[in-house]
Every structure is written in C-alpha cells, then in structure tokens.
Amino acid sequence: MLPRSSALFIFGSQQQKNLEGYVGFANLPNQVYRKSVKRGFEFTLMVVGESGLGKSTLINSLFLTDLYSPEYPGPSHRIKKTVQVEQSKVLVKEGGVQLLLTIVDTPGFGDAVDNSNCWQPVIDYIDNKFEDYLNAESRVNRRQMPDSRVQCCLYFIAPSGHGLKPLDIEFMKRLHEKVNIIPLIAKADTMTPEECQQFKRQIMREIQEHKIKIYEFPETDDEEEMKFIRKIKDRLPLAVVGSNTIIEVNGKRVRGRQYPWGVAEVENGEHCDFTILRNMLIRTHMQDLKDVTNNVHYENYRSRKLAAVTYNGVDNNKNKGLTKSPLAQMEEERRDHVAKMKKMEQEMEQVFEMKVKEKLQKLRDSEAELQRRHEQMKKNLEAQHRELEEKRRQHEDERSNWEAQQRIVEQQKLDLSRTLEKNKKKKIF
C-alpha cells in the first residue's frame, strides 16, 4: 500500500513525496466526519407544482415523517389569492446525524386562471435568500452564517402523458440558473410503463429544445458509480408516487396506494422511480446539491450583484475586470484617476509655462525695443550735441577770427590815426 521508494516527482514548486512509514494524516477524513456530525447539517428543499399533484405526500414519503399533517397542511390546502412562498423548518435526527430541513412550498402556483408571472415570487424568494447570505458573508463581523439558500427545487409535472405545459417551460427557463431543478413526474401511477417512457422522452426532448439546464449528476472517476449514474440519467425525469398509508402486501408492510386492481408500491423500483429519487436526493447527492448551489448558483448571483454595484450598471465593463473585487476595482479607478490627473496637471503646466514664456518674451521684446529706442534717442541727442558743439566751435572760430580781424583793423585804425596825428603835427610846422 505504501511504496518504500523515495522517488521524487517535481511539479513546479511542488514535489510529490512518497512516505516511508505511516504518518497519520489519513485520519483527516475521520476528523472531518467527527466535526461535521458535531456541527449538524442543514438543507433547504423547495417544492413547486400545481395543487393536487401529491407534493405533500411525496415529501412525507421521502422523509418518512409527517411534515405535512392536518395541523401543518400542505400547499394545496393553503391556497391564497396570490402565489405565496412559505417555509417550514423541521429538525430530524438519524444515526447521530442531525439535519435541519427547511421545506419551501408555493401554495397557489399555477392554480389561477391567469398564471402570468406566478414564478416571480419564487425568483424573488430565491434571490432574497442569496442576498441575505451575501450580506451575512460581507459583514465586517461575521458570525456563523445560517444558510437558508434554496439548494434543490423539485418541480412537479402533471402526468398528462403528452408533454410539458407552457407554464412548466417558463418556470424552468427562468429558474434553471438560480437553483438546482429536479423535474418529477407526479402521480406516476396514472400511466402505464410504456406511456411513462414516452412521456419521459418527450419531456427530455422539450427540455433540451428549450436549453433548460436541470440538475446534472457530477462525473466521477469511479467506473461503478458512473455506470450507476448513467442508468439514472436514462430514467430522467423521475416518475414518482407518494403515499401516507402502509399496506400489507405478501406479508410485508409497504407504503403504497391501494387500488381495486392491486397495490402500487412506492418503494418498488418496477412501479415507480421513488427509490431512485430518495437515494439520489438524500443518500448520495445531497452534499453535491449544496455544493453546486454554493459554488455555481450563488457565485453567479454574487458576481452579477457585485458587478452591478461596482460599475453602477454600466454594461460595457462586463468582460473585463471581473477578476477583481469591487474594492480592487475602485483602487484601479483611483489609480487611473491619479494618472489622468497627473496628465491633466502636466498639460495645464505646459500650457501655463508656454503662456508665461510668451509673456516673458513679449516683455523682453519690449524691453529690447525700449532699449533700442533709448539708444537711438541717445545717439540722436549726442549727434545733436556734437552738431551743436561743432556749430559753436565754428562760431567761436568765426568770432575769434573776426575779433582778431577787428583787432587788426582797430590797430590799423589806430596806427593810421596816429600817423595822421603825426602828419598833422608835422604839417603845422
């Protein structure tokens, strides 16, 4: 059983190791078993169908107890004006295992004259339960969360022998992505085996035609189990008979329905598929029903809900970004916004710089212009100055020349007058 070699298989960062001796973690499943028994189990089952199809009787037969009794009448006895969705909880225990069973029924479904939208209360109920769970799961302070999500829906089909009614198709189409639907043919003892076969085939054909996804048994690796499962698949949808009475047949006491022509036994595999249903629903696949509800239907609801919240209903983001949490999404948006702002800031900065440069340039230009003009004027003035100087010099020259001349003339005159004086004096003698 335990190989003694120490061969290694390396898968990336993981290695497969073979143990050389008993360690003991093979006991883990026992530990899990022990803890689960201590915790107890819960299961929520919904039954839907028109009144009088034997839903209550079937539930009583399935769980071998009087869930529905005169004090707690079944849905067919509680018809109100509109479709209601009601639940009742029962606690049952068997072999040390405790189960809190919630049965949800829909009195009034399909019984009115106008049944439009009679599925709406059902959809609302299921969504509400998902919502409750989502809120509980998202709280900051989480306590043990009660799980009231609907884990299985038994849909009762009237044994007309012909096919599905439009109401059946509508209901299943609207609910197959919210809950595990197990369609059942009710009151199967009104059909002969051949009629039943035909009816079943017709129903499955119509189900496929309308692309309705009913609950599917999971694949297993076990060949035995797969063979078993395939046999069950061939008999879908299951045709059931329920009974509250015990009848003696061939010395045995069995549940059955007494007719003048014989007894239809509930638990006889040749009479109906009740046993298959019970085994599948309770004994082998109850856990899987819970898992599919949790991992598929609830997750679908949750991602749709959170996507709506994150994107505020903007649809074009459907495909991208769903791998993030709303918070991460907000983080990303924040980062985008920061980047956008940075860019905007840069742009504004640029524009600003440009404008400032322009203005400065203008200033410089005018300054240069002013400077130039100032230079110009200075030059002008200097020229004028020089001109003036020149003129003055000329004038001075002229003047001094003239003055010099004048002096000469004056001197001459003086000399002349002196000479004349002299001559005059000479003449007198």
């Binding site: 900051v140 309770i282 991602s303 702002m341």
Partner: protein
C-alpha cells in the same frame, strides 16, 4: 457510527444504497436510540410543543406509527403502551432530549419555529457526513506548517521525522542579513488521502546581532497569506473551492533547550504571533535535558507564557470523543521532541533514533521524548481543528481589522445594518467625491498659480514701464538742455552777428569820415 477508520468511504455509501426498500435497523445504534426514546415516553412527556424553541434533536427511531415493520414490532408495543397514538392522525411528538450533540450553531434559528419530528424508518441522511467526507477527500486537503526557530535547532530534521520523508533542505548558514521565509510545497498521499503540505522555514532567525525586527518578516508572511485569501474572497468572480489555501495553520515554535527559561526573543516573537496563528511551542533537541530538568523547564516556560499573556494553541476539549486525550496532552505542553531520520537497531527492531556512546535515544519512545505526542496531536487528532481555527478565528480577526481599516462598517450612524450594496455604494460615492475634490483642488491650485504669475508679470511690466518713463524723462531733460544750449548759441551767434553788422556799418561810415578828414 463515529469511527470510520479504514473503511473506504464509497463502500459505506453503497451500503446505504443497498439498504433501500424497507428500512432496516442499521446496526445496533438505532436499537440504543430506540431504547432511549422508550425511556422518554415512559416519562410521559409527550406533548406537542411546536414553539419549544430550543428544540433539540430527538432520538430518531421510535415511531408511534402502528407496527411498521417486523423488526420494529417488539419496540412498538412499548411505545404504544406509554402514550403514543397508533393512529395516523396527529403524532405525539416526543420532546426535549438534549443530546450532547446539539448543534450550537443552529441556535441562530431559535426565534423561528422549528419542529422536531421523528422518523418512521431509515431515511438515509445519516450518510451526509460520508458524502461530505468523500467530497473533501476528492478535493484533497492542504496543510501549512510554519517552523520558527534558530538556525540549527532541528526544524528540518523534525519535519522529516514527522512526515517520514526526506524533504530537501540545504543547511542554512548563520550569516544571513535578516530573517527570510522559505516555503516549500509537497504533495503527499497516504491511503486515499491527498495532502498538499507546505512547510515554511524561517531562515536566519536568531542569528543577527540586533534581533529587534526578527519577527517582522514572519508576521508579514502570515499577513500576506491572509491578504491573498481575502483578496480572492472579495473578487467579483472568485473560485474559492479550488483556491490553494496558503494560510499558516500551525506555527511550531522551537525553544532552545537551555533548561532555564525562555529567551526574550522567544517571548517577543510569540507575543507578536499569538493573535495571528496557532502556536505550539516545542522544546527542541530534548535529548540534552534530563528528565527532572525538563520538568522544571516546562513549568518555567508555561508560567512565563502565561504571565506574559501569550496565547498558545489549546487542544480542543469540547468534542467528547477527543476531549480526554486533548486535555491530557494540554498538560504536557510544551512538547520536548527529538528528531532523527537515522535508523538504529534496538533489540530486534530497527527504530529511528540517535546513537550516543551512553545509549540510544529513540524518537518514538514516549519515555524518551514527546515526539509521539506531538505527532498524535498535530496530525492524527487535531489537524482539522487547526485548519478550522485558522479560518474561523485568526483569519476572521485579520479580515475584520483590514475591513475596518478600509472604512467599512456594519451599521450606519443610525445603527441600521448596511446591506452589502449600500456599503459599496456608500464607499463608491465617497470615493468619487474624493476624486472630484482632488480634481477641484488641483484646478484651484492652478488658478491660484496663474493669478500669482499674472501679478508677477504685471509687476514686471510696470517696472519696465516705470523704467521707460524714467528714461523718457531723462531724455526729455537732455533734450531740454541741448535745446537750451542751442538757444544760447543762437543768441550768441545773433549777438555776434549784430555786432558784426554794427561794426561793419560803422566801419563803412568811418572811412568816409576819414576821407572827409583827408580832404580837409
């Protein structure tokens, strides 16, 4: 039906299938249950009380329905005699039998009406735990161990010994700059159980001179694993059921066998870790301590832990199947262990042991060390509880702190509970408002900047203008001066000209006089 031990799970399930048809008494447990219920009926407490809110589980099997089946008949009569109706009408419901297995968690419903019903045969949901187990086995388990201890204290050897395999490990040197964590993942299988085991080693712990920050990388690593899980949990599209859980389930803290007391590094580290992870302290290399020293050492350690408020992992005692053994083991903490992968022949057996000149220390000998106890507690009895505690306590604490840090609350200021949508929408509004505010701020800043710069430039312009004005004035002044000079010059020139003219006219008339004089 408690120990399923080696029974492969699927067989058991098939057994249930086989017993379809008329429900038979499955084993003796139902008998016992029936007897119990019979006792109850004798007490005469058969009243129907749908509002007995604390409705606890009943003994399942007794059925007041008239003799269903052969095997039941013996007991049915007793039931009938004590008070059951044999009618098919209203069923007297046997009541309150508080079994030790009352699911505490389901009490959440205590304000809703819950009826307890008895079953009229074997329904078959007692296979639910098997279904759950079978699913878990198919999924595989994962377990993550963190080993904290000084270099060379025997962490790797102990892991090899615990899991009976040689995990690859290079010996670490003492010269690491700091503490770093080295996780390694292995796929192990035992019978049909797959275990993904991750061993995280603290390399370099206790080697530095300054060990103040030694605990930080460890705390960071643990928090990172929590963070990763939290991120996955918060994603819009998430897949938790096949998420590889890397959160640390158990921290084995290796205490050096000094024989005296805990080192301060130990206390500091454990104090930092005790609210984040389950800690089991172990005394390493216990073959260096004598029995009496060990006893004193253990007492010292435990009292130091208590006086410092360090919360180590307590093996759970609430499940009566294991409470006894767990309670006794709690008293042996911390476990003194010896690890060895070498085999030594003792007597006619080959056991794992350490060979000394003075004797052989056998790892699996309970009088030599507590290795077997550790293995028992860690792996064979409480592995699942460790995983649960990590998820339900340590992770929840981390999550709560993280969400509160991010500003999430469960109730709004009016103490009305928030729905998830409201919370997110509120957050989003806040966030958008925040962004808008930032944008406004930036714009405002720019407006201010522009105003400032405009003022500056205007100032410059004015300066320039002033300068220009000044220059102009200067220039005007100069011009005026020049003009003045020019006028002066003109005047002088004019004056000179006049003089000249005057002199010339004079000299013109004078020579006449001279001539006149001459004539005379």
């Amino acid at each position: 039906m408690v120990t399923h031990g080696c029974l492969p799970v699927s067989l058991h399930v098939l057994a249930c299938n086989v017993s379809s048809g008329i429900p038979e008494l499955s084993g003796s447990s139902s008998d016992v249950a029936m007897l119990k219920s019979v006792e109850l009926n004798k007490e005469g407490v058969s009243h129907r009380n749908p509002l007995s809110a604390a409705a606890s589980p009943l003994a399942a099997c007794s059925s007041p329905l008239p003799a269903l089946l052969g095997p039941h008949s013996v007991h049915t009569s007793t039931a009938l005699s004590s008070g059951g109706g044999c009618s098919l009408g209203p069923l007297p419901q046997t009541t309150a039998h508080r079994s030790a297995m009352a699911a505490t968690d389901v009490d959440v419903f205590s304000n809703e009406e819950k009826r307890s019903l008895s079953l009229g045969g074997h329904v078959g949901f007692d296979s639910l735990p098997d279904q759950l187990v079978s699913k878990s086995v198919t999924q595989g388990f994962c377990f993550n161990i963190l080993c904290v201890g000084e270099t060379g204290i025997g962490k790797s050897t102990l892991m090899n010994t615990l899991f009976n395999t040689m995990f690859e490990n290079e010996e670490a040197s003492h010269y690491q700059n700091g503490v770093y964590l080295r996780p390694r993942t292995y796929d192990l299988q035992e019978s049909n159980v797959h275990l993904k085991l991750t061993i995280v080693d603290t390399v370099g712990f206790g080697d530095q001179i300054n060990k103040e920050d030694s605990y930080k990388p460890i705390v960071d690593y643990i928090d990172t694993q929590f963070e990763n899980y939290l991120q996955e949990e918060l994603k819009i599209k998430r897949s938790l059921f096949n998420y590889h859980d890397t959160r640390i389930h158990i921290c084995l803290y290796f205490i050096a066998p000094t024989g005296h007391s805990l080192k301060s590094l130990d206390l500091v580290t454990m104090k930092k870790l005790d609210s984040k992870v389950n800690i089991i302290p172990i005394i390493a290399k216990a073959d260096t301590i004598s029995k009496s020293e060990l006893h004193k050492f253990k007492i010292k350690i435990m009292s130091e832990l208590v006086s410092n408020g360090v919360q180590i992992y307590q093996f759970p005692t609430d499940d009566e199947t294991v409470s006894e053994i767990n309670a006794s083991m709690n008293a042996h903490l911390p476990f003194a262990v010896v690890g060895s992968v070498e085999e030594v022949k003792v007597g006619n057996k080959t056991v794992r042991a350490r060979q000394y000149p003075w004797g052989v220390v056998q790892v699996e000998n309970e009088s030599h060390c507590d290795f077997v106890k550790l293995r028992e507690m860690l792996i064979r009895v409480n592995m699942e509880d460790l995983r649960e505690q990590t998820h339900a306590r340590h992770y929840e604490l981390y999550r709560r702190c993280k969400l509160e840090e991010m500003g999430f609350k469960d109730t709004d200021p009016d103490s009305q509970p928030f729905s998830l949508q409201e919370t997110y929408e509120a957050k989003r509004k806040e966030f958008l408002g925040d962004l808008q505010r930032k944008e406004e701020e930036m714009r405002q800043m720019f407006v201010n900047k522009v105003k400032e710069t405009e003022a500056e430039l205007k100032e410059k312009e004015r300066e320039l203008h002033d300068k220009f004005e000044q220059l102009k004035r200067m220039h005007q002044e100069e011009k005026r001066k020049v003009e003045e000079k020019r006028r002066d010059l003109e005047e002088e020139m004019n004056a000179f000209n006049r003089k000249k003219v005057a002199t010339e006219t004079l000299s013109l008339s004078q020579p006449l006089k001279k001539d006149k004089d001459k004539k005379n």
